[in-house]
């Protein structure tokens, strides 16, 4: 992956949603080799095959230092960069309002 190797979410409580969305659209644009906006549904656009689906999940885990559990694999969390940003903030505790389990589970 060309998006650096350091997970940015070690500083997750401080990482802004905009910064995360920008990271994710950058990754998507590179990986899918076409411009992807924050609300583009790349699943509906027919751009996702089995290999890319796993690549996307693995990217999110490594880049944001989190673990995607079986129950997290909800298409609605993954279908746009904005949805993914919400998911990342939820998982990393950056979204304090919805924080339930801080840290791993």
């Amino acid at each position: 992956m060309s998006h650096g190797s350091e997970p940015i979410a070690d500083a997750a409580p401080g990482a802004g949603a905009e910064q995360i969305t920008e990271e994710i659209t950058g990754f998507l644009t590179d990986a899918l080799r076409r411009p992807i906006g924050p609300d583009d549904d790349y699943f509906e656009l027919g751009l996702v095959d089995s290999l890319f689906a796993l690549e996307l999940v693995t990217y999110v885990e490594q880049r944001f230092a989190l673990t995607v559990e079986v129950e997290d694999l909800d298409l609605d969390s993954f279908r746009t960069a904005h949805r993914l940003t919400e998911f990342v903030r939820r998982k990393t505790g950056a979204d304090a309002g919805r924080r339930t389990h801080v840290g791993d589970h």
Binding site: R33, L45, G46, L47, D49, S50, A53, L54, V70
Partner: protein
């Protein structure tokens, strides 16, 4: 059958000079192939074993000489040059997506064999004089020889042309997939398919939901059982036939259609057809008044299948259970009926 624990050979890599033909091919020199070589190429090809070339010299001269003697069509990959042969062998194994423990190498030169053996201890090396006897050896006798295995060389050569078309498409994946004119056909398994279907259950690891393996007899019983459905997916595109690339085994209970095994060949993982097959299976379950249920047993390599199942709407219905029991997932009743959209057209054949 091969000795226990030692996989049979999937690709035999040939040296050319003094191994395939009697002498060294140079411009102006015309060595003749050894008389036993065409028969060995054919015999192994018919068993689904691939042939490749790793040799010294000039690529164009050597390839032209293979063509002149009608041998070029037997080979699905060639690396001819002056680098270490072990490196060339590794790259061929990568390109064919096979493990080095299924690669064999035949060369008249003991120094070349020693270099390969030292660098790649899993590769089995043979001297040139062993060529005529290779088809008799157990490691060249795969347990499953199917009609499709015999055509494997053509599949790889077709795949090579596809790869070049993809490189030339400039990277727009959707446009490339659309240009392929993919057609996936889903049909109940028939007697003629059972050997290939069984082979798929043994050979497929990544896009495999539970890793259950079935022999031909078991599949025959399941296909005939009113409580089960065995479905096979075939894929074609404008370049040719991918053959059977997907298999599902579903157990029907009064309320549920339980997907006990779903697998897709890794050759088509980048074709976007896994979701299409799942969408079809969910619709088939619902049209029979049943809930679509899938079992999943994690391994170190099959997370792709879990992601595919989850993104197709399958949701865990219970806590992960201990003791090796599979994870049970189901498509909730209020989940919208999946659309049969994707890069491929779907043809459904009934029993």
């Amino acid at each position: 059958m091969a000795a226990e624990g030692v996989p049979t050979v999937k690709c035999l890599v040939w040296d050319l000079d003094d191994t395939v033909w009697d002498g060294v091919v140079l411009e102006g020199d015309e060595p003749v192939p050894f008389p036993h070589v065409p028969g060995v190429l054919r015999a192994l090809d018919e068993r689904g074993i691939l042939h490749a070339v790793v040799s010294r010299g000039d690529h164009d001269v050597a390839t032209a000489h293979l063509e002149a003697h009608g041998l070029e069509e037997w080979f699905c990959a060639a690396r001819i040059g002056w680098g270490a042969k072990s490196a060339a062998l590794s790259r061929i194994a990568d390109a064919l997506n096979i493990g080095l423990d299924t690669v064999a190498f035949i060369d008249n030169d003991p120094a070349e064999r020693a270099e390969v053996a030292a660098a790649l201890p899993l590769v089995r090396c043979y001297p040139a004089e062993a060529a005529a006897d290779l088809p008799e050896r157990p490691e060249f006798r795969p347990a499953h020889v199917t009609a499709e295995a015999a055509g494997r060389r053509q599949l790889y050569r077709t795949e090579w042309r596809r790869r070049r078309a993809e490189e030339e498409s400039g990277g727009d994946r959707r446009a490339f997939l659309a240009s392929l004119d993919l057609v996936m056909e889903v049909a109940p398994a028939t007697e003629a398919d059972l050997a290939r279907a069984s082979e798929l259950t043994v050979r497929t690891h990544q896009l495999n939901s539970t890793g259950l393996t079935y022999d031909e007899d078991e599949l025959r019983k399941l296909a005939a059982s009113p409580d089960h459905q065995v479905r096979l997916a075939r894929l074609t595109d404008r370049f040719g036939d991918y053959g059977i690339i997907g298999l599902s085994v579903t157990e029907l209970t009064p309320d549920d259609a339980v997907l006990r095994l779903l697998l897709m060949s890794c050759r088509v993982a980048s074709r976007g057809v896994g979701g299409l097959l799942l969408a079809h299976l969910v619709r088939e379950a619902r049209s029979g008044g049943r809930r679509a249920v899938a079992h999943f047993l994690p391994t170190s390599v099959n997370r792709t299948m879990l992601v595919t199942l989850r993104f197709a709407g399958f949701t865990p219905v219970d806590e992960p259970s201990a003791g090796g029991a599979p994870l049970v997932l189901a498509v909730p009743d209020d989940h919208p009926l999946p659309e049969l959209a994707g890069p491929a057209r779907l043809l459904i054949r009934d029993a």
